[in-house]
Every structure is written in structure tokens, then in C-alpha cells.
Symmetry: none
Subunit: 414 residues, 2 copies
């Protein structure tokens, strides 16, 4: 089933709001095996919206609109849909009743503006919104479908779950076409190009695919195949995974689509292990990442942001002689920081990051992007050197990413 | 100037990656006074990409492509652009030299695959990428422009800043139409709705506008006017700024579009002041923010990530009795953390953050979202209580934002 998405709202075009609705809709429908053809964003302009609807319906079986259904002045979707479908707004009694109930529950009166939400296009099927006031509007024309969803993420999600996903699943089931199946493999600690060389060319059929999706959470590998038989498709994906795993095993940490920090979170909690950190060039970024998920206090005891030499020697006892002889960015310093933070915080693991984030501070011997990451546990401490890029932001993010990689390598053996 | 954006990549359509590039590009260009007409996303399909380019160029003066310029198999933008412009790839020597230098600096060899990044369309102007290997490609056809940018956000941003924004500004300046003029005013420490109430209704002409652009870096106010005379337009914007400033002075920190962290950075460096921090619920997010800009070691000496009660008492001497009586999230704890971190790190300012990020851990007395932010300087220490939202991520970001607000209020008097 070919599906397109049309997001409506000036706030999206001018970058005031990041379009998370489109990615949610795209992900949910892809998981069902639908094909997302295009995902467009237009402003609050009726003519442009109508042009886009016409055009997207040409090559899509189903068009999903989001945005512009609230009670404020600048909402434009409803009159636009009326114009497009040559329709008129009529009072929809069940929606009015619901509005009246919701407002009376809050002890507030229904204004004329709010009441306008109950006027809906006569030709549409009204789809109940279980978490808000603006219902979905479902149209059919010449065997193609269109639904208009509210822009508020929680309301859009509710109608997706209650109506759109079951509808699409049923339509795909009815059609006898072959379906696409995907599986995502997560890697960490290796750049996209090296990973591609390691994996090389896979024996893929013409309807199969391998995509490299790089991010600071590692390179995701998405393998896809097409089959009318679900069992066969899943078997094929499992075989492809085994093949990839045999080549890139060192860098694959999960055959499910979970982020590195989620992996670390689950492993540390399940094994009841504690961690502390010492951050220089990242200034707190690793700690921020390690405390992203609720429940992180079970394993993250704390850390020291040793951004100055003073902090390194005062709080984590890196001797001045080490700083003078080897420098703050050195194996010796990274090892001392990782070891001493672990001892001071009395944790199972200690991680340190010290590097030259740039753009200044580089030398021939230690260019910008040089980062030492230290790792300490009982009876063992080491540091690894990385040379990342010339870009400060990237170097800081990659430092955190590779620190998590060292931690994951450790946790994989538990 | 009418601008459209075309984002390329299956990972965007299927919701694996949230399209933050489009919102960044939209915001930056809107601030210059350009009109964003449409922002579309298509998958890695050459025909569909070409159709979209053709169509968007019909009603845009400038089309910005992002995505699909890396060194792996699934990158499609370059061959697609060659087909579209009836062009061929040729070896671009400066890009090859740059690639060779970058790889030899890292002591790594340039593979054939990596080398392919130096093959670029003959008809394009190659735009240097100051932070990565994939350059931008700039085309002109029939008085309209197209640029292709890498999908990696930091690289996209670098080329936007170095080339696209100055180019667009100059094009808008060259055109003789009555021009829109904008000015951005930066506020911090107040939610959008409260700010709107404070400012009230402005005496705006029909061709003038006031837009509220909320973000975690505060609410940006963009005032706009239209005039063929630059002097008059600027005078009018200055008057409007004065009017707004008279109403919301407490929350306005700049009449230029600079982020809070840039403001803090410049002020601290110019006044030679040092800072240290103690972070509980933010886990390092404030330190990460304070070390975002190169040169931050001039003022940021370090901090302690006091994520556990153990860390609060062991490193910053919050007595167990205070933790027992008042709790880790309390005025008393915040004050002690801010004061003691300042003394321990021997800095001019000390900032602390301790709160209940959620979703768990809230009580009737201290609901999720309760955050105490402490501020210490010589002869003065205090803490302020905030109650943010029920969302963990938002609470952590707002904590950093309001901590910077307290710091900025302090720095404004210097």
C-alpha cells in the first residue's frame, strides 16, 4: 500500500516545530509493511494544500494529513478539505455532545469558537479522537483514501492507533501483493565507510536492500526483503543477519533497534553494576547521556567534570608531573582519571574522557580530534586513543559514542 | 526570495531519523526574511527525486537539498543530480587533496570508496565543507539556484553558515522589491504565553509582524516590517524593539540573535570571571552546554555530577541531616551545592541544579518537574524553585535554560 504524508503548518516550515509527527507516522506504517512514498510539509495556504493533496493522491493509495484542526484562527485544514472535496461543513451532533461534556466537566463554558470544532465536512466519516476534541476526518474518492489528523502529537497518535493502523493492516492483508519486511541491526564503534568495507557486497536479490544509517548512536543497518509469506521473509532476514554478523560481529551490539544508552541501561540495571565518570573535553555530555533514561540513578553514582588541570589534580589526583610530562591528553592521564574516579565514587566501573575537541589546541603530535578514553574496573584499567575529526561538536559526540562502545564491549561479556 | 527544501533519505520517510535538518534550514532562512514555500521529503529513488526537483524549482527561486552525500552504496544524490542536469562526474582535485590530507593525518589509507567522494558533477560550483569530507554542490539554471548539502547535521550547518546564509542575504538585498526587514530579540526565563500577555497587542501595520518562536534557548521574538527604504525600516524596527523592551525588559537579554550560551561565553571571557557547577538531575547537561564553544576553558573550571546522595555529601559536603530533613531537592541542598562547589573550585560563580526530572519520584509536596537552582557568588548565595512539566527530557532542558537565565541576570549588571 502506497502512503504519503502531508504535514500542514507554517510553524513546521519556519523551523519553529520539529516535525516528529511525520517520523512517527512513517515508522508505524513502515513496520506494518506499507510503503511511504513521500512526506511533504506545506504552510497554512489553502491553494498550496489543495495542489499537494491532488498531486500526492495521484501516486498514493492513502494520504495522511496532519495539522491545522484546532480551534484557533489560523487553522485551515477543514475549509480547505471542503473546497477540495466540494463539500460543506455541517454540525456533527456526537462531536458537539462530546465537546459540551468535556467543557462542562472542566466547569467551563463552550465558546462559539470551540463549538466550531463540531462542524465537520458532510462527506467525511468522522473518526473519534479518544484523547482530545478534534476528530479525524476520513474521505474516500475513486478508491483512494485520505484522512486528516490533528497536529497535537498525542491526539494524532491516538487516532493512528485506534483507526489508521488497523485500517492499513486490514487493507494490506486484503491485497494479495507481496509485503516488505525489515530488520534493524545496531552497530557502534566503527565509521560507516569502514563498516561497509567490512561487510562488503551481500548476495541480495533485486527486491532486497541493505541501508547504512549513520548517527552518533552508531551506524544502523536496515536489511529489507519482500515476500508474500511472512515465515519465509523472517527466515531470510535471519539468514542475512547471520551473514552480516559473521563479518562485523565486533561492532554489532544488538539485532534489535535499541539505542546504545538503552542497551547500557538495561545491562547495568540487570547486573546491578554502578558507574562513575570523569569528563574533560565533553564537559558533562557523557553524564547527560547516562542520565537520559528514568531509573539511571540505579547505576550512575556521579562524576567529575575535570575541565581544567586544577580539577584533574585537585579532585582526581593526577600529579602535576604527569600533566607536565605527558599532558592532560595522554594515556597516563586517562588511566589515572578512570581509576581514581572509580575509587572515589566506589563504583564497579570508571570511565574517563580527555581530548582536544578543537578547533584550537592541536599540535603535530596531538592534532585536534585526539581523544583518550579510559576504562577502569577491579584489577584492570586501560585507555584507548582515538583521532576523530577537526570539528568540535562532532568530536565531543563521538567521544561519548566511543566511551559507550568501550562500556558495551565490557557489558557484552557479562 | 522563495525557497524550498528537499530532504532525501529512506531513513526520514520510515521515521528512523527525525528531520531536524529541515527545521534548522527553515528557521535560519526565515530569520533572514526568506519565504519557505515547501519542505518535502522523498526516499532514495532517483526518478522521484528528479520529479520533485523539477516541480519545486517551478515555484521556488532556490532549492536546498540535504542528504545522500556520504561514501556508501546507498547514496543517490550525486548520480541523480548528474542525470537531472545532464552532467557527468569528474575528479575534483582540491576535494581529493583534502581527502588525502584528512586521511593521512589520521594515519589511514584512502580507499577507492572514500576517493569516490572527490568525483563531483562538472557543472556545479563546489562549496567547501569546513567540518567534513562531502562538499556542497551549487547549481544555477535559468536564474534559479539549487544546492545539495550533506545530511550530517553538523556538516549541513557548516555549509549553511559559510555559504548559503550569506548567499541568500545578498540575493535578498540585490532584489529591488520592497523588502521585508526582520529583527530578532532574544528572551529567556519566561514561557511563550506569559511573554505574550506581558507584551500585549502591538500597534502593527498590516505589513508588519511579531512572531513568537519558542525553543529551549528561550522564546525568540521576530519583528518584521516592509519598506523600500532601509533606513526607515530599521528605524521602525528600533522603535518596535523599544516598545517591546519597555514591557518585557526583565526577560530580554539581547536585541541580536545570539544564543544564551554565546551571551554567557562573551560576558565571562570579557570580564575574566570563572564558574563551576554542581549538577544533579541534569547529570552533566549544563556542563556540556557551558563547554559547547571553543575557549570555554577560560571560564569553566569544572563541576561535580552529584547524581547520588553519596556524591552530594562526599564531594560537596551536604550533611546527611539536611538530606534527611529537607531532601536532595530543596532550597537548603541547592544553596549548599552552589556555595560549596564555588569554594572547592575557587571560582567567582557557583551554580547548582537539583530536581525531580521524572517521570517517577514525585510527591504531592514535590511533584515531578520541581527543580531548585542555586546560585553563589562572593557574599551572596540563593536558590530559586521552578515547577516545570511532567516530561523528563523537557525538565532537564528547562533546568539548564533557567540556570543560564540566573547567570545572565547576574552578568547583565557587570
Amino acid at each position: 500500500m502506497k502512503i504519503s504524508i502531508l504535514s500542514i503548518g507554517d510553524e513546521l516550515l519556519i523551523g519553529q516545530t520539529i516535525n516528529t509527527n511525520a517520523s512517527f507516522i512513517g515508522e508505524q506504517l513502515t513496520l506494518l509493511g506499507a510503503d511511504i512514498i513521500q512526506s511533504n510539509t506545506v504552510g497554512d495556504n489553502s491553494l498550496i494544500i489543495q495542489n499537494e493533496i491532488e498531486r500526492l493522491l495521484n501516486f498514493s493509495d492513502f494520504l495522511i494529513l496532519t495539522g491545522g484542526l484546532g480551534p484557533t484562527d489560523d487553522d485551515i485544514t477543514k475549509p480547505t478539505l471542503c473546497e477540495f472535496f466540494d463539500d460543506t461543513l455541517i454540525l456533527h451532533i456526537p462531536t458537539l455532545t462530546k465537546l459540551e461534556n468535556n467543557y462542562s466537566k472542566k466547569g467551563r463554558e463552550l465558546s462559539e469558537r470551540n463549538k466550531s470544532q463540531a462542524y465537520l465536512p458532510a462527506k467525511c466519516t468522522v473518526i473519534d479522537n479518544s484523547v482530545g476534541n478534534a476528530p479525524g476526518m476520513f474521505f474516500e474518492r475513486d478508491g483512494k483514501y485520505l484522512i486528516s489528523l490533528p497536529g497535537v502529537p498525542s491526539e494524532m497518535k491516538a487516532i493512528m492507533k485506534d483507526f489508521v493502523l488497523p485500517f492499513v493492516e486490514n487493507e494490506i492483508f486484503k491485497s494479495n501483493q507481496t509485503r516488505k519486511y525489515f530488520r534493524t541491526i545496531r552497530t557502534l564503534g566503527i565509521p560507516e565507510s569502514n563498516l561497509a568495507e567490512l561487510i562488503g557486497k551481500l548476495p541480495l536479490e533485486s527486491n532486497e536492500s541493505l541501508a547504512y544509517l549513520p548517527s552518533y548512536q552508531g551506524v544502523k543497518l536496515r536489511i529489507g526483503t519482500e515476500n508474500s509469506n511472512e515465515e519465509k521473509a523472517k527466515k531470510r532476514l535471519a539468514d542475512l543477519f547471520q551473514l552480516i554478523n559473521s563479518k562485523a560481529n565486533d561492532f554489532i551490539y544488538s539485532d534489535k533497534n535499541i539505542d546504545p544508552i538503552e542497551y547500557v541501561h538495561n545491562k547495568l540495571i540487570n547486573s546491578n553494576l554502578k558507574i562513575s565518570i570523569a569528563e574533560s573535553c565533553t564537559g558533562g555530555l557523557l553524564g547527560s547521556e547516562l542520565t537520559n533514561l528514568p531509573g539511571s540513578s540505579k547505576y550512575f553514582i556521579g562524576g567529575i567534570q575535570v575541565y581544567s588541570n586544577f580539577a584533574k589534580s585537585e579532585f582526581l589526583h593526577v600529579p602535576q608531573t604527569v600533566l607536565d610530562t605527558h599532558g592532560a591528553v595522554s594515556e597516563e592521564t586517562a588511566v589515572l582519571l578512570a581509576h581514581n574516579v572509580r575509587i572515589k565514587f566506589n563504583t564497579d566501573y570508571g570511565i574517563s574522557i580527555t581530548g582536544i575537541a578543537g578547533p584550537d589546541g592541536g599540535t603535530d603530535e596531538k592534532p585536534v580530534g585526539t581523544v583518550w578514553i579510559g576504562f577502569s574496573k577491579e584489577n584492570n584499567v586501560y585507555a584507548k586513543k582515538f583521532i576523530f575529526t577537526s570539528n568540535r561538536e562532532i568530536n565531543r559526540k563521538l567521544s561519548v559514542s566511543y566511551a559507550l562502545y568501550l562500556l558495551i564491549k565490557e557489558l557484552q561479556n557479562i
